[in-house]
Amino acid sequence: MNVLTVNNISYQYEGSKKNVLKGISAGFEAGKVYTLVGKSGSGKSTMLSLISGLDICKNGEILYKDADLRVIDRDKYRARDIGVIFQSYNLLTNVTAVQNIVLSLHISKAPEKDKKSFAYSLLEKVGIDRETADRPVLKLSGGEQQRVGIARAISHNPDMIIADEPTGNLDRDTEAEILKIFINLAHSENKCVIIVTHSKKVSEIADVIYGISDGKIAFHKQLPIEKNS
């Protein structure tokens, strides 16, 4: 059963005649890690924008639990149903790490009463201690900011986690730790994890790989789950 289904979507940017996506179809299930791989300009980031509800496609449809993203409340979808991890983190820079998480919990109307304690525990889970959590985001390293981004994405317990080049700015050790978190989220917590990447190493952790080239699915590879566990 797909959590998210992409049916024959095409997309072109305003003022451009070129289709960035050309009739892409794909399905995404819970409990699996997906990677969308391809070269720069292949259309994978555009696809991420569409499936994360930040943009809408005019042709084709994207169904979240059988509901068309064009019809549903996309703000609510972004706030509660998915967690997005951006390559450049996109954290609120004028507040602390923990405040970023608390704000996300408020926006998603998370049920936790003591949101701050919950935020601390989440950050601890991704390797951020309390002292670091209380520091302004701009005083954190790239790896720490990415961990805060992951904590924010999973704070409201979404069904899907969508990550855009999540390890692009990180060193090898941090990359490995973060990838471990993604695998764990999919296999232990039954989340659907979609990672956009052009890194071969990242793509290798996936259960399913979609290769995108020139706006089309160039290949679709399903790998045995045991390999990644």
């Binding site: 930040l54 703000d75 972004r78 706030a79 996109n90 004028n94 507040v95 996300s104 926006i107």
Partner: protein, 479 residues
């Protein structure tokens, strides 16, 4: 709730920008507080004086019309200008108008008394008539008006109310044929309370050449101190016009000798309208009841202007200043809000990407503006209240100075004017030089309203910007 909490934290976080916006808001609010306090207080003063002066009606001879009339009627080249009078019965008839809430009648007559020597008697007497043109070689004859040495003033109590005259001994005249005299006159003639004197005067019909003697036997019931100027500004100086020679009596005493169609006893009345708007209706009624066209039905505009003019000027200055500050302040706040939103575009993009609705983002930004406004409102109300009084005093002093300078200039350019000195109360009136400002609930609500409008203006700009921002575009630009 978290939006308000976040807004509060943001106000503290972005100090530089918020201090800048706050400083502008503070200046606008302080100006609004001062201007509105001035406006409210001066409006109430102006309304009060409008009610008083706008309701107070006088029937005054228009001396230019009187002179024109006299010149028209002159047959021998000599123009005899006699101050016209209104028959007492007419005054009574006018006072019955349904447009009035009340009236005060006064009467005066020139007299002589053989047993009293007037103050400044050596200057001679006066007739109360003005002679113009061809006057040379007039000989005393039956037609020569009597030269009065004193005047009877019926019910003339304005100076007592103003404090320039005060009862020195005895009591005020109340009954028919009772009078009081000035202490100067009493001392120079050894007049005692209880003394009786016979005063004589005359009534004249200038057209028919009829002269009718009058006689009053009055009992002195008191004396009064007098600190008024002995002579009214611009009047001839003789015993008749000397104010120390005014015998204060009752209105009924003076008019008891009045005869229809005869001049010599001058009656004046001040009528009080129920509403200043009824002036034209009242004027039409009194003309129809026989008021000559040489009389004007007027309100005391000159006194009103002298007293209230600077206050009106102050009000105008305050409102104009506030309007300018509001417009410029509003534009600056709008610009700052617009710049602030541009600066915070990324933050808005992140919040929207996290799923926060546009309305909530806008509410958050508006709340921040509102918090800044509330802080400025509290500080502005306090500061404005402290500054309002000294600012008002300084502005009012400037207005009074300007009004006086304008008046001096007008007088120096004005040339010769025919005036009736006794009725020129504007000359004695002092402009309001002291205004006690107060910050009432109405004014506070107006200031809060202005502050909210400014905050909302900035909020509206934020909202209009936010509706144009798409999170994906903001984040793509940033990345």
């Amino acid at each position: 709730m978290y939006i308000l909490e976040n807004a509060f934290n943001n106000v503290l976080r972005n100090k530089g920008r918020n201090i800048l916006i706050g400083a502008i808001l503070f200046a606008v609010i302080v100006t609004a507080v001062i201007a509105l306090m001035i406006n409210t207080t001066t409006s109430s003063i102006i309304e009060n004086y409008k009610g008083r002066f706008g309701s107070e009606i006088r029937l005054e001879p228009n001396m230019e019309k009187v002179r024109d009339e006299a010149m028209k009627n002159s047959t021998d080249g000599m123009v005899r200008v006699t101050v016209p009078s209104i028959p007492a019965e007419n005054y009574i008839a006018f006072s019955e108008s349904e447009y009035l809430q009340g009236s005060i009648m006064t009467a005066s007559a020139g007299v002589i008394c053989d047993s009293i020597t007037s103050v400044d008697a050596e200057l001679g007497g006066g007739s109360g008539m003005m002679m113009m043109g061809g006057g040379a070689g007039i000989e005393a004859s039956e037609n020569t008006p009597m030269q009065f040495m004193m005047s009877l003033q019926g019910n003339k109590l304005a100076e007592f109310e103003a404090g320039t005259r005060e009862l020195a001994s005895g009591e005020m005249p109340d009954e028919l044929n009772e009078c009081i005299v000035s202490t100067d006159l009493a001392e120079s003639n050894d007049i005692q309370i209880g003394d009786s004197f016979t005063f004589t005067g005359e009534l004249r019909d200038m057209a028919e050449g009829i002269v009718q003697p009058t006689s009053y036997t009055l009992t002195v019931v008191g004396t009064y101190y007098d600190v008024t100027d002995e002579y009214a500004e611009g009047s001839a100086q003789n015993a008749f016009t000397n104010r120390r020679n005014e015998i204060i009596t009752t209105y009924d005493t003076v008019v008891q000798e009045i005869q229809s169609g005869m001049n010599g006893i001058k009656v004046a009345a001040t009528y009080y309208l129920k509403n200043p708007e009824l002036l034209d209706e009242f004027a039409a009624e009194v003309y129809s009841k026989g008021l000559p066209e040489t009389f004007d039905v007027t309100t005391d505009k000159a006194t009103y202007n002298k007293i209230v003019g600077p206050v009106e000027g102050l009000k105008g200055v305050a409102i104009m200043f506030m309007s300018v500050v509001l417009v410029f302040g509003g534009v600056i706040i709008a610009l700052l809000a617009s710049i602030a939103i541009r600066e915070r575009k990324y933050e808005i993009g992140v919040l929207r990407a996290m799923g926060m609705k546009k309305t909530k983002v806008a509410f958050g930004l508006w709340s921040e503006m509102l918090l800044i406004t509330l802080l400025c409102l509290v500080a502005g109300l306090g500061t404005g209240r402290l500054l309002a009084q000294p600012v008002t005093d300084a502005l009012l002093a400037g207005q009074i100075e300007a009004a006086e300078a304008a008046q001096d200039e007008q007088q120096s350019n004005g040339g010769m004017m025919l005036r009736m000195p006794q009725q020129d109360t504007a000359a004695d009136a002092e402009p309001l030089s002291d205004i006690d400002l107060s910050l009432g609930l109405d004014t506070m609500l107006q200031i809060i309203g202005i502050a909210l409008v400014l905050a909302s203006l900035a909020g509206l700009i934020s909202i209009s910007r936010i509706t144009k921002y798409e999170p994906i575009k903001i984040l793509m630009e940033r990345n």
